[in-house]
Symmetry: C2
Subunit: 364 residues, 2 copies
Amino acid sequence: SNMIKVAVVGGEGIGPEVTDQSHRILKWFSARRSIPVALREAQYGLIPYLATGKVLPDDTVEAMEEADAILWGATGGPETTEVPPAARKAGSLLSLRSKYDLYANLRPIVANPALADSAPLKAPVLKDVDFIIIRELTSGIYFGEPRGIETLPDGQRRGFNTQQYTTSQIRRVARTAFELARTRKGRVCSVDKANVLETSVLWREEVTALHQAEFSDVELTHLYVDNAAMQIVRAPSQFDVMVTCNIFGDILSDCAAMASGSLGMLPSVSLGPPDRLGRRKALYEPVHGSAPDIAGKGIANPLGSILSVAMMLRITLNRPDDATLLEKAVDTALAAGARTADIAEPGAKRLSTQEMGDAVLNAL
Amino acid sequence: SNMIKVAVVGGEGIGPEVTDQSHRILKWFSARRSIPVALREAQYGLIPYLATGKVLPDDTVEAMEEADAILWGATGGPETTEVPPAARKAGSLLSLRSKYDLYANLRPIVANPALADSAPLKAPVLKDVDFIIIRELTSGIYFGEPRGIETLPDGQRRGFNTQQYTTSQIRRVARTAFELARTRKGRVCSVDKANVLETSVLWREEVTALHQAEFSDVELTHLYVDNAAMQIVRAPSQFDVMVTCNIFGDILSDCAAMASGSLGMLPSVSLGPPDRLGRRKALYEPVHGSAPDIAGKGIANPLGSILSVAMMLRITLNRPDDATLLEKAVDTALAAGARTADIAEPGAKRLSTQEMGDAVLNAL
Ligand SMILES: CC(C)[C@H](C(=O)O)[C@@H](O)C(=O)O
Ligand SMILES: CC(C)[C@H](C(=O)O)[C@@H](O)C(=O)O
């Protein structure tokens, strides 16, 4: 069929609450803007575990398997301790990233002028911040072998992990970065630690080689990861597309989060390899986690999840105008003063998760 | 003799310029506050390389070997390319850290109220920021074996590094953190990635075990490194002592740098194991590097190096009152408007490196 299949998996903690709102918005676009999506809801976490012994039951696996895009909430709620580690691991986010080979994780960082007051960074620093971190997501130290904890002859223990990258793992994520830069300001900054790590020496060489071979129209610069962390705080508007390995991307994207005012604002997508037609399996999710401390209270910020739907409109659904429409609606809601707790100034009115969803829908 | 031996090694890039100023100040304390230090200057870098074939000539090795403390500038000037990589590596900062087993790297982050205008962070965020990052410096992914780049059967290349920690490597740096916390606000935050890495699982277990066995009077919390990066930008005043592994400490200390207004403001010390009397070999250096772009211009900020002398007064020279005297002199100079280029507001007068040294000396 011509329907584009989307699996909606709210998951745990605040995941279901925020996904409820982004799901509503996706349905609005489907109905009002005639987008041919087939939505299928599926469960993840403690509830299916109690019923089936799996956090990721067969029905959910099937829904995700057939989906072109997955709208994902969060994993690891307050109930985490009720699921044994082995059962949790079997269906973990890391194993899903690996299973679907979702190697390119895109995390846009955009400073909204309406939130300049609530951000810890000063307004001049936030001016024109609009960049995107592309984090390699299926290799590096997250997945490298050997790994483990061993007991040494003298009774001490030794923990070890392997950071590793191959030519093709580096090149394919760098390709995503260069291609994306061509649709933006045409600049890629590659981040590594080539003054210390061989993995980074190879990273730099391969990114440079691909650049010279196919993307010399794009501007390429390199930064060491420590300097990149500082520059992200000092002058984030200098960046357009940043590409880096799994662990550096994990740290740098949180380091950058405050430029958008709150972790709750940040969307993301993780993309798999393109098929013959250039289509890529995609998992859309807010950058924030399950936030057990506020789960169930209805106060979480749904904008990270809602803006992930905007990314879905742009990438999987190929509706750039609708993506822009949704992003503008979020801007309008914020400019009108809509604030969840995480982005509210002291004393200001705080909307519930649902009310923030309403505010965006009303602005559409 | 009862003299405390200090080797002064300015090194390369802006290293000699900034060290000239901290050296002057150390001499002031030696003379005016009767501190029994024997200062020995030694060279590092291109100049000795051209004369002897070594960036770290025998005379410098001897000076550092016999020293209780080393006042270090920076390595890697614009002349870097004139020294072959092998010769450079033989005398690198990494090999020195390793040779003297300088496993505990202390990086204080203090927000100076006088600099609130020039910092990218807002004044409310900067209020009461005074914490110290303790970075493990001689193990982890910086030194782990195996490491390298290999060619695979299919012609691709693979880069690999090993992140590793043993029980004793973790415990000794955690001990430094707990002991330091006892002299401060009594709080340690240990940073890891225990939700992904076995090295971090072991790290967390060993830090916790040492805490329970010997330091239960200190408050211990744990953060994942991504969250720590965000919290450092969002609300840095929550921290007292932070302890973490080599690579995370490298990134987080640069991420934190902007809370002090500029990388140029940050001092550090790297400490070796205590001897029978509790004395530890110590290498004091500003956190900034050799900054080839401004080397030789006399505009670098010497305060990172000068505040490293304050750390030397407190730790190696056991003169806490003199340390405070020097820190207060820096505060006085800043409050009176003394600014090098990196911390000057647009249009404000910019002091040279030497003039900033003068300003601090005048305030003593
Ligand atoms: C939960 C954790 C394993 C995950 C990661 O480190 O990738 C998270 O921090 C993220 O950034 O998606
Ligand atoms: C120059 C480099 C090897 C060094 C490091 O990564 O340790 C530097 O960044 C530092 O923080 O001292």
